[in-house]
């Protein structure tokens, strides 16, 4: 599969690769050219082969991993099988997913210098390149800082600067924004695009950030099960909404919206994939068809007589003097589905940890069922409040799935019959009963998250807190976890979700708490909160594109369109008396 390039920088020629002891190929017969100066977005569900593709560009696959490799890859004319990784590193700069693991030095300038030192670049030359690399990623003035003083977005930009200082022909970024908040992600995308445009560096970026890739990439390559199944411009590929959804790839919401509008019978000449074009197309379409805000079912009501969890003028100051929470007052009622959003460092997790007495207030109070958490223990609170933290691997410490789920029950001193009953019930509810003998860490990441949820559920808590449950998951994985949260909510549990991914949440959340720099900025029903664009922007959160399209409709029709999803926006259009529909929430 090729696109016409003047002279390709990278060539994949019938490349297949099988990891040692693997049964299926991670890459399967991939043929592709990447032109000089191109920005290629690599998309596909988890396990599609994106990381393997990225590692093969620097020769790490297969030179580091071994396994069976077929075909030929060349980068800047060098065969990646014949040249050592250290030689290829002169041409290929790599940026990985986790900002923590890939930074090895204790100062910003040393981090950038490391590869240069390894490549025997003279010191005088390094002193020229380091400030230039920092300037290119807008990190001037940080040379002497320790990397831990940088934010997540800044750390990824430092990793880019380190790669850039080598002056590579190709910059490879493997899901560089998956652990960042929207503003951090935006910083990384803007930086990479600028380097691509101004310095002509060829870019390959793997990721799930559809909205950003639609905006910045020249071409997209879609990998499914290791095979390259589609290649084209974002305008072409992201417009194939149904096809992408079948491949478990999330298209940009603007494309989803127009695909739904098209399905409703509205003539849509071309499905836009970027927001500005989407707004223009929406206004054009709205002139030709009857538009009316759909009936919005009333929000579910919650008994607000007595609160289950309360924070009263809560302030928390960490040992290093960081004020993580400042005078936060909040009540959470039984049976609610609450979403907590805010930038990295806004205080979201700090707030959640107070409910479990993992942290104690510096001032103010936290009450659980009207009892001050100072008078309770974490283990006692854990019976009532389940906490599912971000990384499931840090919460797994038993040799079998069954033992993992029974762990808490033994601590809580239930008898054997009760333990067996609860383990079976919990594992069955999460579809893991058949895997009960397996080692939890041998399961795929999505299943490991479900094991942790099962272990929490077995305690029958009244409240379940999911802290960033969708980070590092693809669309399908994220929906799976959130669907579980929905089932729990339907079963009467109180659910609290902390996330940056607003586009995932309209089908689940009822109420939204917005935190910014430790302060409570907004506490409102989901529709009101999602449309409080200025408040969200003040904590660096970007509303989903469907909300922004709804705002455009509202502006055009001088009416209120409190819509949240592509389906709701599509449902505004009426064709011959037939209106697009969406399922009542």
């Amino acid at each position: 599969m090729t696109i016409d390039h003047g002279s390709p920088l990278v060539t994949f020629d019938n490349v297949s690769y099988i990891y040692p002891r693997a049964e299926k190929p991670a890459l399967h017969d991939v043929t592709l050219d990447i032109g000089k100066g191109e920005f290629l977005g690599l998309i596909g569900p988890t396990g599609a082969g994106k990381t393997t593709f990225c590692l093969s560009l620097s020769g790490i696959v297969p030179q580091f991993y071994g396994g069976r490799f077929f075909g030929r890859i060349t980068v800047a004319g060098l065969d990646t099988l014949e040249h050592p990784v250290s030689r290829l590193a002169r041409h290929v700069g790599a940026v990985f997913e986790d900002p923590e693991t890939q930074i090895t030095a204790t100062s910003v300038e040393n981090e950038i210098a490391f590869a240069l030192e390894n490549l025997n670049v003279p010191r005088e030359e390094m002193l020229i390149r380091i400030p230039r690399a920092l300037e290119a990623v807008r990190l001037e003035g940080t040379a002497k800082k320790h990397p831990r003083e940088l934010s997540g977005g800044q750390k990824q930009r430092l990793a880019i600067a380190a790669a850039l200082a080598v002056r590579p022909d190709l910059l490879v970024l493997d899901e560089p924004t998956s652990q960042l908040d929207p503003v951090g992600a935006q910083e990384v995308f803007a930086t990479v695009r600028e380097l691509n445009k101004t310095l002509g560096i060829t870019v390959v970026m793997a990721g799930h950030a559809a909205e950003e890739l639609a905006e910045y990439a020249d071409h997209l390559a879609l990998l499914v099960d290791g095979a390259l199944v589609a290649l084209g411009a974002p305008d072409d590929l992201y417009a194939r909404v149904e096809y992408l959804e079948r491949c478990h790839v999330r298209p940009p919401q603007v494309a989803q919206t127009f695909a739904r509008i098209q399905q409703a019978g509205v003539l849509v000449p071309e499905i836009p994939v970027r927001l500005p074009e989407g707004i223009t197309a929406l206004k054009t379409t709205a002139h030709s068809y009857a538009v009316q805000a759909p009936h919005i079912p009333p929000a579910a009501t919650v008994n607000r007589d007595t609160s289950l969890l309360s924070a009263c003028d809560l302030t928390h100051v960490y040992g290093d003097g960081t004020v993580a929470l400042r005078d936060v007052s909040l009540d959470v009622y039984a049976g609610e589905y609450l979403l907590i959003v805010g930038q990295n460092g806004a205080g979201k997790s700090t707030l959640a940890k107070h409910f479990l007495r993992l942290l104690l207030p510096t001032s103010g109070a936290v009450l659980v069922d009207n009892t001050d958490t100072r008078d309770l223990t974490t283990s006692a609170l854990a019976r009532r409040i389940g906490y599912v933290a971000q990384n499931p691997d840090n919460q797994i410490f038993n040799a079998t799935v069954e033992a993992e789920v029974a762990f808490a029950l033994k601590n809580l001193e239930y008898n054997a019959a009760e333990i067996n009953m609860r383990v079976e019930e919990s594992l069955t509810a999460l579809g893991l009963w058949e895997r009960r003998e397996a080692h939890p860490l041998a399961l795929p990441k999505g299943d490991r998250a479900r094991v942790v949820i099962a272990a929490i559920l077995a305690m029958w808590p009244d409240v379940i807190i999911f802290d960033e449950p969708t980070t590092g998951q693809d669309y399908r994985g994220a929906r799976t976890v959130l669907d579980i949260s929905k089932q729990l909510h339907a079963a009467g549990k109180t659910v609290i979700v902390i996330t940056h991914h607003l586009y995932l949440m309209p089908d689940y959340a009822e109420r939204v708490v917005v935190l910014g720099k430790g302060a409570l900025l907004l506490d409102a029903p989901v529709r009101e909160a999602y449309h409080a664009i200025d408040v969200l922007a003040s904590t660096h959160i970007v509303p989903p594109q469907a909300v922004l399209l709804a705002r455009a409709l509202a502006e055009e029709h001088h009416a209120d369109f409190p819509l949240l999803t592509p389906e709701e926006v599509a449902a505004c259009f009426t064709v011959n008396g037939f209106r697009g529909s969406f399922a009542d929430r």
Binding site: S86, A115, N118, L127, L441
Partner: protein, 282 residues
């Protein structure tokens, strides 16, 4: 546990300005002398001087206090062992038979009846404790006052192979991350009803054993990731590389190196000639 994680001193001092090679020489000299001296008085003075120097260099008081607290069970063990059971060793060191009793258990007591705690045994135990404390405190004085990169360059200049210097610096960099991970895992266990507060020692040991599994697996994943990152940055471990930072010995460094060597020589002469530092002399 977190009080014992590695940190860098926050203020500039004579020690932060020294080259790592001169600190290595000083650390070596102090360790050697602490190892040789058996006098509890001199050993105690050396440990005290080192603790004060650490404080002056910016090492946190809390760190030193934690080290001392953690040494207390060891000190108690040594006092019992040497005080009651170390008589033969002490006699050999003193080259005399008669020891000074502090108290003796009545002969009628089962098992410990007739056991005698001696003054010399206690002094010998104190010597071991001070020796250990000195050898521990010399590490923060050298490591906490030095930037990791300066350590690497200092070690390479001291003809230590670059690969070893790099492994050493990587260990220092990832040590705090390891502690963070332990805390996260313990937190996860508390959230599953584990009551650390009321737990017995044996049960705690079993809990720590369970922490090892995710910790080791996590470390393996991280080390593989680190390996990939290093390879992608052209790291081969070859000493044929350039350095961003230069390092050179200044007057203060020469003074420390010469002073350390002289200290060892003088201590050795005093030990051999007049027995200064020998057990029972001071």
């Amino acid at each position: 546990m977190s009080a014992l994680t590695l940190h860098t001193v926050e203020h500039d001092s004579f020690f932060t300005r020294l080259d790592f090679r001169s600190k290595l020489t000083l650390m070596g000299a102090i360790t050697l002398i602490a190892f040789v001296w058996e006098s509890p008085v001199l050993g105690g003075l050396l440990a005290l001087a080192l603790a004060l120097t650490c404080l002056a260099a910016g090492v946190k008081f809390g760190y030193i206090r934690t080290v001392v607290i953690l040494l207390l069970p060891f000190a108690a063990f040594m006092l019992v062992m040497q005080g009651f059971l170390g008589a033969d060793l002490v006699r050999a060191r003193l080259d005399r038979e008669a020891l000074t009793p502090i108290f003796t258990f009545p002969a009628s007591w089962p098992l410990i009846g007739g056991g005698m705690m001696t003054w010399e045994g206690v002094l010998y135990a104190l010597n071991v404790v001070f020796k250990t404390l000195t050898m521990i405190l010399v590490l923060p004085l050298g490591l906490f006052t030095t930037d990791v990169n300066a350590m690497v360059i200092g070690m390479v200049k001291a003809h230590i192979p670059y690969k070893i210097a790099f492994i050493f610096s990587s260990t220092l960099r990832f040590f705090p991350l390891l502690f963070e991970e332990i805390q996260t895992i313990i937190e996860a266990q508390r959230l599953r009803g584990l009551t650390f507060e009321t737990m017995g020692a044996l049960k705690r040991l079993r809990v720590y054993a369970k922490i090892a599994v995710p910790l080791i697996l996590g470390a393996l994943v991280k080390s593989q990731m680190l390996d990939i990152v290093l390879q992608s940055k052209a790291f081969t471990g070859s000493p044929q590389r350039t350095y961003l930072h230069e390092t050179r010995l200044r007057a203060a460094d020469y003074a420390v190196i010469v002073g350390s060597v002289l200290f060892v020589i003088v201590a050795a002469i005093a030990y051999v000639s007049w027995g200064i530092g020998r057990f029972g002399k001071w």
